[in-house]
């Protein structure tokens, strides 16, 4: 399912008309970030402050990159796609539903430490409506209610849905959505469960 150029442009137009960053401001900002955190931080904490190429470019262009950069990001992110061993990209919708509601995990705060063992999820409901029975749903992303009804469960539909959750920027450069699989936030198996929550005809998303 290839995207038209128009679709890409539509998605990328940001709400603001802020000009792209200038190099001096970016360089000052990086120096400010370095000195605003304790040097005694563990390395994996420090790593969260380091931008990868996509994060740096999307920040610089305010999530509205010019065509050459868009093409570059599309190509590089397409190369990151990884699949579950065994190739089963649609899993258990009940597990996917749990993942959609969990908003904890991965927090780093000394003054408000996260409960040890707090589960990690996709927190899909933070940004999307899904099952219509769940009223407390956000609207940062489009509604996904009835997602499976429109797409079915063909291998193409399953693969495309899986890939988009794994790395949304393989299709929509500088999308606001996290790159759940590529960033290692969710495992390929968890993503397959999320796919089932979206596509399975028995899932509340499609009832």
């Amino acid at each position: 399912m290839r995207l038209s150029a128009n679709a890409i442009v539509f998605v990328l137009v940001s709400a603001s008309s802020v000009a792209a960053a200038d190099k001096a401001a970016v360089s000052n900002t990086e120096a400010t970030m370095r000195r605003s955190f304790s040097t005694a931080m563990p390395d994996d904490w420090k790593a969260r402050l380091k931008q990868d190429e996509v994060q740096a470019l999307c920040s610089q262009y305010r999530n509205n990159p010019p065509p050459k950069i868009t093409a570059r990001i599309l190509a590089s992110q397409q190369r990151t796609l990884r699949y579950p061993p065994g190739g089963k990209m649609i899993g258990d919708w009940r597990e996917g539903e749990k993942l959609a509601s969990i908003g904890t995990g991965g927090q780093l705060s000394a003054i408000r430490p996260e409960v040890p063992g707090a589960p990690r999820g996709g927190n899909c409901y933070a940004c999307h409506t899904l099952a219509s029975s769940e009223v407390a749903a956000g609207n940062l992303g489009p509604s996904l209610t009835g997602f499976g009804k429109m797409r079915g469960t063909s291998p193409d539909a399953v693969k495309r849905t899986y890939e988009q959750i794994f790395n949304v920027q393989a299709f929509y450069p500088c999308s606001m959505m996290p790159r759940f699989g590529h960033n290692g936030w969710l495992t390929p198996e968890q993503i397959a469960d999320a796919v089932a929550f979206l596509l399975d005809p028995q899932s509340p998303v499609n009832k």
Binding site: W45, L108, Y125, V135
Partner: protein
């Protein structure tokens, strides 16, 4: 208080109407209930108690110097508090830095009272801390005055530019920046409405009521505390207290709200 309540009612009614058009009835009804709850909150703010404690701390001799904070200069002259918060953060020649209200308080605790930095800052984030009380007291002294963060000084302009870059800076395992959640109209996480800081009206409505009593926390949070908590939610590490990253963001956010009439301490969810 009544003017604020009716202003907030109009603001949230507008937001509810916008959302109701896009959402189904159930979500619309839930948002209406939340709006009613927020209106009820305006009737008596526990932050007023903390403000009174701040007023006491201001005149209480402390530290090895047995001095009060009354000689502290927030940019308008020694001991001048009326309107001081409305023009912070700003550059201070005696420290050669841009400082927010909390940073400036710590400077005064160290220089006037002789406290060490550790003594002055150790409990900053604890509920009803001394610093929170003092910030609440000082912010209330700017009620009715317009936010006017200066950017004429070279360092002020630089911090503003850095704050703007930070607002858009994406990093971490969820690729988040402040802009991820705060750069579009009419957005919410679950049922929590998000101010769009690229929109003047949203920025103003948000900024004039910090510091605020946070019902969900049962205490007053300063702007610094709230921005620090955003870093946690974005899955970034915790920044150092009073660091330039936080102050730069405060400069940017308050500049986005330029001209708005202060009404702190507020009361929020």
């Amino acid at each position: 208080m009544r003017v604020l309540a009716s202003g907030l009612a109009v603001f949230f009614a507008g937001a509810v109407l916008t959302l109701a058009a896009a959402d189904d009835d159930q979500t619309g009804r839930a948002m209406e209930q939340i709006q009613k709850y927020r209106q009820m909150l305006q009737d008596g703010n526990p932050a007023d108690l903390l403000e009174m404690r701040g007023e006491q701390l201001w005149v209480t001799p402390r530290g090895p110097s047995r001095a009060t904070l009354e000689q502290c200069d927030f940019g308008l002259g020694t001991g001048k508090l009326e309107g001081a918060d409305a023009q912070l953060p700003r550059y201070f020649a005696d420290t050669d830095q841009v400082q927010d209200v909390e940073s400036r308080l710590v400077t005064c605790m160290m220089r006037l009272q002789g406290l060490t930095r550790e003594e002055a800052t150790a409990s900053w984030y604890l509920p009803d801390s001394d610093l929170a009380a003092l910030v609440t007291f000082i912010a209330a002294k700017s009620k009715g005055m317009p936010i006017r963060v200066p950017t004429a000084h070279r360092k002020e302009a630089r911090m503003h530019a850095i704050g703007r870059e930070l607002f858009f800076r994406r990093s971490g395992p969820l690729d988040f920046a402040c802009a991820t959640c705060h750069s579009q109209d009419g957005r919410r996480i679950r049922l929590q409405e998000l101010p769009n800081f690229l929109d003047r009206k949203d920025a103003q409505a948000s900024m004039v009521t910090w510091p605020a009593y946070r019902v969900s926390e049962g205490t007053v949070w300063t702007l610094e505390h709230r921005v620090t908590d955003c870093f946690r939610q974005m899955r970034w590490p915790q920044p150092e207290y009073l660091s330039d990253a936080i102050v730069a963001l405060e400069v940017y956010l308050r500049k986005q709200a330029d001209g708005a009439i202060m009404d702190a301490p507020g009361i929020k969810r």
